[in-house]
């Protein structure tokens, strides 16, 4: 509750007419940004706890199920995310807040161009990799090694529900058959 209350209080502050329209003083704008950041970080604890409860399958045999981190990446707007950049394997959980199922093209900042994406049924999805625009990689204060964005279609995300995708650098996957052709250079 203290975590949620901090977010509630912050959202209350954000209803002030200066916050809505951007007519606050610069130092106040920075304080608003800080409060939002702290509130989001506090609530990520709740999110982690809830998703870890939801993601335990009912037929699980292990008495001590593994807990996942479920980190938010607040710098995705500049194509930067520590988890996807620093790990060869990671999972991406998408929670759909809408009251109807949706399809969404997901873009994940990555450091390489060879990845596989596996959906919750075990199916390998078609992917595409495009370079992060030069104007973004050249941003002065962007501290990121992501040179590419991995794109895949997350289809039929359930209404107010979630799906988790497994993403892995394809170099680290044991060869099961004929390797796929490397992307054509344009």
């Amino acid at each position: 509750d203290p975590h949620l209350n901090f977010m509630r209080e912050t959202m209350g502050i954000m209803q002030h007419h200066d916050a809505v329209t951007g007519t606050e003083k610069q130092k106040v704008a920075l304080d608003y940004a800080k409060r939002m950041s702290v509130a989001l970080r506090a609530c990520s604890t709740n999110i982690r706890s809830v998703l870890n409860q939801l993601s335990i399958s009912s037929d699980r045999v292990s008495p001590q199920p593994t807990k996942f981190e479920f980190k938010t990446c607040t710098l995705l707007n500049i194509s930067s995310c520590a988890t996807s950049e620093l790990n060869d394997r990671f999972a991406l959980t998408l929670y759909n807040p809408l009251a109807h199922s949706t399809n969404e093209y997901v873009r994940v900042p990555v450091t390489d161009y060879k990845y596989v994406v596996i959906d919750p049924t075990g199916k390998s999805l078609p992917t595409q990799v495009v370079p992060v625009p030069k104007a973004v990689t050249n941003l002065q204060h962007r501290n990121s090694s992501a040179q590419y964005e991995l794109i895949f279609l997350a289809s039929n995300l359930p209404a107010v529900g979630y799906k988790t995708y497994y993403i892995e650098k394809s170099d680290s996957i044991p060869v099961r058959g004929k390797p796929s052709a490397s992307p054509k250079k344009k």
Partner: protein, 287 residues
């Protein structure tokens, strides 16, 4: 040396040899639609006089409606794949954009990156993205009311009193929370935003949205400082998205462009939440 085309079965975008958007093909027709970045020169007033305010945090007020093009030539990089086709545009050293069409979508996405706006010339600038079409909108356009109903706007006109507009740009600007649109008997063009912006249609068939501004004077309405965010050194950089829809304006029972716009509006403003987890398992173990 030749036109560049990206798109899918639903929508195609053609870029001319200068790198600007030139045509959009969708819904069985091709229309002339261009897109460019421009900026207004911000008014510098004398705040002692009520009718001579500076452009500032509260008011948008270009100096004698002066507008400048960001560039007359755009460098292009094209990436075409099985899920998305996109064009990376560089307008100048501080404005760039990615225009993309996903395989299954029926609209185009414009992801703009603007800033830091240069101010070494001591001129405040208010940057817009402008879409120019051949649609004969006759002074009528529509902006949303906080994401809900669309309100009809008529250029140089107010619904409940006779008005004489003295400043034709500022006097025709309206708040856009999620959508701005115009149409004629045959075609319709709509732009969805990812945040609240100012917008207008200052000529028939033309829509513009303000994406970023950097000002050097206070407008004396209360904030007491210029809208010049230099806390991080050079000035802020803004990145955001516009979604362009074009199609027939006729309402048809089988396809409604407005219904599609509404759905994309929801999905744009309420996208999925993304949570990343480190995983040590192999894919089989994870499953």
């Amino acid at each position: 040396s030749s036109y560049t085309v990206i798109g899918n079965n639903n929508i195609k975008l053609t870029f001319d040899t200068n790198g600007f958007l030139a045509y959009v093909t969708a819904d069985g027709m091709t229309r002339t639609i261009s897109q460019e970045f421009l900026y207004y020169i911000a008014a510098t007033g004398n705040n002692e006089e009520f009718l001579n305010r500076s452009s500032g945090a509260y008011i948008f007020r270009p100096d004698k409606n002066q507008i400048r093009f960001a560039t007359d030539e755009v460098s292009l990089e094209v990436y075409k794949g099985q899920l998305v086709q996109e064009v990376h545009q560089q307008f100048n050293s501080w404005i760039s954009q990615v225009v993309r069409v996903y395989k299954q979508s029926n609209h185009a996405e414009f992801e703009w990156l603007v800033g830091p706006i240069p101010i070494k010339d001591n001129i405040g600038k208010e940057v817009i993205s402008r879409f120019t079409s051949d649609i004969k909108s006759e002074g009528i356009f529509y902006t949303d009311s906080n994401g809900r109903e669309m309100l009809k706007r008529r250029r140089n006109h107010r619904e409940t009193w006779n008005v004489k507009i003295h400043e034709s740009v500022a006097g025709n600007y309206y708040p856009v929370t999620t959508k701005i649109a115009l149409e004629d008997d045959t075609a319709r063009m709509a732009i969805l935003t990812d945040r609240a912006q100012g917008g207008s249609s200052l000529e028939d068939g033309v829509l513009e949205l303000m994406v970023h501004r950097r000002l050097l004077h206070d407008d004396a309405f209360g904030v007491g400082e210029a809208l010049n965010e230099t806390e991080y050194g050079e000035g802020l950089i803004a990145r955001g998205k516009h979604h362009l829809f074009m199609g027939k304006s006729l309402q048809r029972p089988e396809v409604s462009l407005k219904a599609i716009e509404r759905l994309v509006q929801l999905e744009t403003l309420l996208p999925s939440w993304k949570f990343f987890s480190n995983v040590s398992y192999s894919s089989d173990q994870w499953l």
